[in-house]
């Protein structure tokens, strides 16, 4: 399957231009800064703490894989970075914005412009066509119908599924559905793409194709990509891999660890 050259596509610009587009001045430091980040919640009589005192820096354009056993806090960290969950303690600063200061509505708006989410089970809306699914995030942006059409078409071409634009999710294979989901994640040109086991429901070949695609997009569009995965083969695509256990960062591989950094303080991409 041939894919369009992402660098020549209208509407999609590599960071930091895309960051500037959001109206937030680009910061000189890491794109994502986690400081003593914790998440806990009460379940029945128990206080569950899936994430505790995590320090992490991620640079713009990085590709990070989060690995660890079930319940280690990978998805919790991903959800916090994606702005769909709130930390119980510590700070999470993304592109200079402390997410804990945003109201629920502001956080929703922030997600619209900053994050694209790719799910394990694709999570496409079954009553909408591939085109309409990809168009969904753009309906939250002020733009003309023509521009919207252009961007959707481009996104579908980028993931190589433009010929299936009028198909409903039930008419697509798992791999194709995930391509549509990736198109949906990138169409609004967010600075961060997150994926929660995006290949977890795919066969080996489709998984490889999806990972190839995401890696290429990340590189060409300059997006920061953070994936949760159990699969070492997928993690191998990432520039950096974080290993989490019981809510703590226990290992950072594929990147130089800063001298003297605590076991729970990692800097990815060498930004700090």
């Amino acid at each position: 399957m041939s894919h369009a050259d992402t660098r020549a596509m209208p509407g999609f610009r590599a960071e930091p231009e895309a960051i500037e587009r959001t109206g937030t001045p680009p910061s000189s430091g890491p794109l994502i800064q986690c400081r003593r980040l914790s998440k806990s919640y009460v379940k029945g009589d128990n206080l569950i703490t899936p994430l505790r005192d995590l320090d992490l820096d991620v640079s713009a354009g990085d590709f990070l894989a989060l690995m660890g056993p079930s319940g280690s806090g990978k998805t919790t960290l991903l959800n916090l970075i994606a702005g769909i969950d709130r930390a119980s303690g510590g700070q999470l600063i993304i592109n200079g914005i402390d997410l804990s200061t945003l109201s629920r509505g502001q956080l929703a708006d922030w997600r619209t412009t900053h994050v694209g989410y790719v799910f394990q089970l694709y999570n496409l809306v079954p009553v909408l066509t591939a085109y309409e699914n990809v168009e969904l995030p753009l309906l939250l942006h002020r733009m003309s119908a023509r521009e919207r059409h252009e961007r959707v078409r481009t996104a579908l071409e980028l993931v190589g599924i433009a010929d299936r634009h009028d198909h409903y999710p039930r008419q697509l294979s798992g791999g194709q559905e995930q391509r549509v989901a990736i198109a949906r994640a990138i169409v609004a040109d967010p600075m961060i793409i997150v994926g929660d086991e995006p290949t977890g429901d795919l066969d080996e070949e489709s998984a490889r194709a999806v990972m190839d695609l995401m890696t290429r997009l990340c590189a060409d569009l300059g997006k920061t990509l953070i994936l949760v995965t159990h699969d070492a083969r997928c993690a191998a695509y990432a520039k950096r891999t974080l290993h989490l256990e019981k809510g703590r960062l226990i290992e950072l591989s594929g990147v130089r660890r800063e001298e003297g950094a605590s076991a729970n303080h990692a800097s990815a991409g060498g930004a700090t």
Partner: protein
Amino acid sequence: MRMLPFQYAVRNLGRSPTRLVLAISGSWFVVLLILVAGGFVRGMMQALGATGSEDNVILLGAGSEDSVERSEILASVPGILAASVPGIRTRAGVPYVSPEVHVMLPVMTAGPGRETPGVAGAPPRQALVRGVTHGATLVHDSVVLVEGRWPRTGEDEVLVGRMAPTVLGIASEELAVGKSLVFGETAWTIVGTFAAPGTAVEAELWVPITDLTTVTKRETISCVVLTLDPYDQDTGEGAELADVDAFAKTRPDLELAVIPERAYYGKLSEFFGPVRFVVWVTAGLIATGGLFGGLTTMYAAFASRIRELGTLQSLGYRRMALLFSMIQESTLATATGGLLACIVAIMFCDGLAVRFSMGAFGLVIDQRVVSLGLLSGLLLGVVGAVPPAIRCLRPAIAVALKAV
């Protein structure tokens, strides 16, 4: 706040045809019930409200102002009135004065084995029989002879109202001209049919007053209805209610009470207030039952896509936008049911005759009732969607994304 596309709500309706059918048929039933209740109340109000003319005055026996059937006044009163009260409308010298006898009688159709008075066939039903003179045609201007002729005195002839079949619980063919009715131990031949659109009069049986007083063995009449010419200050012609009232007060020996005809039927309308209340309460209770059914249906529909709601929130859609879309979806279904109910009500319920103690009236499915029905359909959609939608939107996004 940016909304989800309208087609999302529309297409969601098609996810489960069974649920869609349930939602539409449920709202259809509830709205139809509300329409029938509304049509009933409106029909009753209209029948009683439209009965009687603005210029008419009823003179009844003092103390019987609440029921003309209990009233008794001297048979000489009409003549005295015509001679004494100025301002009574006249046509070609004939005053608009109608002496009347109103009596509820058991009535049954005559047929083989029932020609003889007193021999019962099908069980008789109560109907209002009005004894009238030609003066009745003058004062009751809404009454129109639609078939046959006026009954002759001494011939045991009867004129039947168009709604009389409903009151008697029989087919209209059985009250065709030439057929017979049995009441007051007499067989009466039907010689004509009259209409009095939208009024309670249409359910009555009219016979010559002298024939009725004979069979009911009474020497008095029930009331006198007169039509006054509106009082003109410049010419001093015409009369007002006060003039008739003054006459009644100057003749205490006649023991008369004076009531505008509209006011009399208005009072009757008040009497039926509790009936209307019960109708609304019953409709409300059944509608509430329907609403709970709708809540369950909509909850099942929304609960099956909690993960999708979480996904849409993760894209940046706010909960209010999702709530609005779910309300759209629910309202589309209930509005469709409501619209179908309105069509059915207009086609099959409008004018449907209903029997009540005063006679009969037709259900009125007019613009107001249809508006009420459509509004109920929309309200059902909103009320039926909000609680389940809120419940399905309550989980945090991260939790919703894990929903099966």
